[in-house]
Symmetry: C2
Subunit: 406 residues, 2 copies
């Protein structure tokens, strides 16, 4: 068995193609001369590389640079919709899809209600495959090339096997999501990936706030965490990293679904908020109601100053801050992003968390922010994860297909 791969001239080419794509992603349209300047490559090399990217359909001419002396540069930009990452999302109440191109623009977004725990994995995968088909059609319509599909699932995922090992909230166990989707859509297994919702959410937030060290905490009834350090996602030895919902916080606390007592998610999960802030008959406790609507009711109550709701939110915020402090002490991220239902109530949750962090954390300068992506973060992260492969190696988009197109 080989110990590691040797480095090859093709790797060199790949690396420089990827470099140009990264620069174009960050700076928009640039001339070849500007690309040469920014990349450090020679003009000759840039010419050749841009020609290559053009043949692959990843870039196209984008006018000329107007201003200034001398011959105007012919601008080159990433072609809209050229390579598209597809992110799919399985939630308790819906399945969804997001399509993003290399520039980071969203080309397609859909969300379909689906009682996933009730209908079972096979029916849910049928629904998911239908949404995926629509996403793929949107990519085709844009004249693009799908870079891959990544499915977000709220549970424990074996990313190598493309399987969901255990997702208690979906009532899934050992579900072959990748294989099931491949069979239904005809997409190659190699182009399908499955990952945890918090991991993908962290990737989405990381792309939005590009600091190398970020922690994403997402909540609905369970709590998930996604950790990015040094720009890389932390998965742990067997993919359990970030499973912070079951941090033991209070040995005398209420019993948790995992069988232990006082787990963090019993303190800050949506269940805890509803229990403290509403009576059992209250409409916000109605599980058949859409999550967004229930959050809107709670928002409204908090905004008009309802005492019980405010008190419940403050209690959640404090407990959230205690747990966040532990994470921050250990990992020293530059940013902690609060996603999921926390993102719907930032006015009442972010401040208590900041206060706890200020009181309990050694390191200065940690930013606490509500997610701007909200419940869309996991699917967006899935799209980005799919794109990341092309970003690292643009030659994955083959030349031939595009030559046919011209």
């Amino acid at each position: 068995m080989a110990d590691s791969r040797p480095v090859d001239q093709a790797d060199l080419r790949r690396g420089n193609l990827a470099l140009l794509v990264r620069i174009l992603r960050e700076h928009g349209a640039l001339s070849r001369a500007q690309l040469a300047m920014r990349s450090g490559l020679s003009k000759a090399a840039v010419s050749s590389l841009v020609g290559d990217l053009e043949l692959r359909g990843l870039v196209h001419a984008a006018g000329v640079s107007s201003g200034g002396l001398g011959r105007p540069g012919r601008l080159v930009a990433l072609r809209p919709g050229s390579a598209c990452g597809i992110g799919l999302d399985v939630h308790i109440g819906h399945v969804g899809a997001v399509v993003t191109d290399l520039r980071g623009e969203t080309l397609f977004r859909r969300r379909v209600a689906c009682e996933v725990p009730a209908v079972g994995p096979e029916r849910a995968l049928d629904e998911l495959a239908a949404v995926a088909g629509a996403a793929l059609a949107a990519v085709s319509a844009a004249g693009g090339h799908p870079a891959g599909l990544t499915v977000s699932v709220p549970g424990l995922v074996d990313t190598d096997a493309g399987m969901v090992r255990f997702a208690p909230r979906l009532r899934w166990r050992d579900v072959s999501v990748a294989a099931g989707l491949a069979a239904r859509t005809g997409v190659r297994l190699a182009d399908l990936a499955v990952d945890n919702d918090a991991n993908l959410g962290a990737m989405a937030e990381h792309a939005a706030a590009p600091v190398p060290d970020l922690v994403y905490v997402t909540g609905d009834f369970g709590i998930g965490g996604g950790v990015i350090t040094g720009g890389r996602l932390v998965r742990g030895a067997i993919g359990f990293a970030g499973e912070i919902g079951h941090m033991p916080m209070d040995p005398l606390g209420p019993e948790c679904s995992c069988g232990r007592r006082g787990c963090w998610e019993t303190q800050v999960g949506l269940g805890a908020l509803l229990q403290a802030g509403a009576d059992p008959g209250d409409p916000v406790c109605d599980p058949t109601l859409d999550l967004d609507e229930r959050m809107a009711i709670i928002r409204a109550r908090a905004e008009r100053g309802d005492r019980r709701t405010r008190h419940a939110l403050h209690q959640i915020g404090s407990a959230l801050g205690t747990g966040v402090s532990i994470v921050v002490n250990m990992l020293n991220p530059a940013v902690v992003v609060l996603g999921g239902y926390f993102a719907a109530l930032p006015e009442w949750l972010v401040e208590p968390v900041r206060a706890e962090v200020a009181a309990r954390v050694l390191a200065p300068g940690v930013r606490i922010a509500g997610s701007t992506l909200g419940f869309a973060a996991p699917a967006t992260g899935g799209a980005l994860a799919s794109l990341r492969r092309v970003l690292a190696d643009p030659t994955l988009i083959s030349r031939q297909i595009m030559e046919r197109g011209t």
Copy 2:
């Protein structure tokens, strides 16, 4: 400003030189043909690369492969003492040095008693420079080339500036270790690095137990943590990652040196053990006594079954396990290594930690182990950190110098 470095043919060469060095490090002496097989490179390329490494003095002929049919292979091996990493260690009671070559063999080891908090940074750096000088002399005597010096300090380090920001146990604040050592030894600033003791300890344990995800917890009076995920050290946004000693564990606990209450280190630090296991007048509480000797006394008492000692150890072990469980839940390492004073008492500490982890951690298969390197881990890690640069880029060892030598 360039956005990122372009990839170059020299990078290609570097990468393949490094590949061969890695393979030789792992497998010992190999023929060129075997190297070609294992690396995936062609025989021609291997010949050229080996010739290059020979000129740099990094490898040398090492006999012939005896067995089998056909022409025997001329074995090539890493030259003992060729490139040497130097690790320096500043502790409360001593300064020390370790020299390791590319093969991982230790060529030199020294430890000199020094009351660092008492004598102040300048005098301590004098002592450290003397030890460093002896280490450099040992490298010269072995016909080697120093790959760099890395200093381990128990405190908060600004690795970019080579400065210790705050080391309460040494009573250091804003000490320019790299500059001070450069001035005293004549070593170039670029070859000097400073890092936290727990980070370096983690690197040493990581090299000994090569799993990609490892957490190292070290204790004396303070508690430090080093985290490696995906084979990379986690530093955090401003270098505070792994500062787990001040995790808030008990809001009603005793006051900590940091000003808060119930930090983890008040529960599991050496102070907690001594307070629970010995009276103030007890010799093990004598701060002038060598740490190793004090640990030996505690070991002896535990071995002969002293009830109070055993009880104190069990109490420490439980609290240690509680904190370790939090870390493990968050990061899912394959191994947790207990270093520092914990490593001196594994028979009584490892089991309670295992029990707590088994009760509190979701992920299966986490190994808990006492460090085999003990108090030597940080310096060893420093030596490895210095070597890592050469391992990533063998061309750092220039050819000319070695040509002069032959």
